[in-house]
Symmetry: C2
DNA sequence: TGAAGGATGACAACTGAGTTGTCATCTTCT
DNA sequence: AGAAGATGACAACTCAGTTGTCATCCTTCA
């Protein structure tokens, strides 16, 4: 980074020992740029597969969770049902996913990964694993676990923001 | 969250004790939804001020860093110069920022917060502080600091992704 | 059993963030 | 002085994601 200063939180009232709100603001400040760069990187990394972040998210979810319906995926990622549907349609057009009959629901079929889809998402995540291994450096698993905990906590805070 | 499962990283080769790459992938998985929800929340929270995330980022930067030029801000946030310029123009049209002559550069003037701008960004961040205080819960400052460290590390990884 | 109300798929229009491209002018470097 | 780079201005564009609407299907309950 060339000119990015570490954020200087405005001076605190020294009377409040663990008001962590300003520190959480730093997290926000980091999440924005990180999200943008990761998005750009994903596009750069997988132009041949033509995996948009949306399609990628769908494949990821299916690999981790097994076959699901479109609305289930939307809820799981707090994305609109319609958007997920569009991503699934995209993926289906490329033979990355296929529909399987849903025993529990006639109208809403299960979406599952095809072999092509599994190969595609595996290739992408393998590449990312390799990249992230470089990032490892001085970070311990505990550090990362803590980070995940903090982010999850913040995410939960915004849970009430609903969709659809 | 209703249906979000904790991500199940695909089984690892057990021979590598601290391959943290899969855990960093969890961070990715969290950053996306968090970014989206925060964005939505910012809009909801400040509709009266009409602060888009872009304008908000500009005001934030100016408050923390003092007057800067547009290209400096772009580099600091890894955003395109042109985009930042548009946000600054927006903000200037609402009298949230003003241009000051730049002693070091005739063409590229310094952008500074106006009183209105300071009031606006202060109001917004105060509201956010209040929100985040709720999130505090069982998180310690050390936790959050660790989180910031991890995110910063990941961000640095993507530093080469350049703009303009 | 038969509505009523909710969930789903399909399609379209829209917003907002952010980029890319281009050109003219201004600065800086040699 | 001249070349190369930085800046402002403006426009076109992409991409993520939402909102709205309608018709069909599923579920529940009186």
């Amino acid at each position: 980074m060339t000119e990015t200063e570490p954020p200087q939180p405005p001076p605190d009232a020294p009377g409040e020992p663990d008001d962590i709100a300003p520190h959480l603001m730093e997290v926000f400040a980091l999440v924005g740029p990180l999200y943008r760069r990761v998005q750009r990187k994903i596009e750069q990394d997988a132009p041949q597969q033509g995996l948009s972040v949306g399609v990628r998210a769908v494949l990821d979810l299916l690999r981790e969770h097994g076959p699901m319906t479109v609305p289930q995926m939307g809820r799981a990622q707090s994305l609109s049902r319609q958007f997920v549907q569009r991503m699934v349609n995209d993926a289906a057009a490329r033979n990355l996913v296929a529909t399987a009959p849903n025993p529990a629901h006639q109208r809403s079929s299960l979406i599952r990964l095809t072999d092509d889809g599994l190969a595609a998402i595996t290739a992408v995540t393998d590449r990312e694993h390799a990249l992230l291994r470089q990032a490892g450096g001085d970070l311990t698993e505990a550090d990362v676990a803590t980070c995940v905990r903090v982010l999850a906590r913040m995410l939960a805070l915004f849970d009430d923001v609903d969709v659809d």
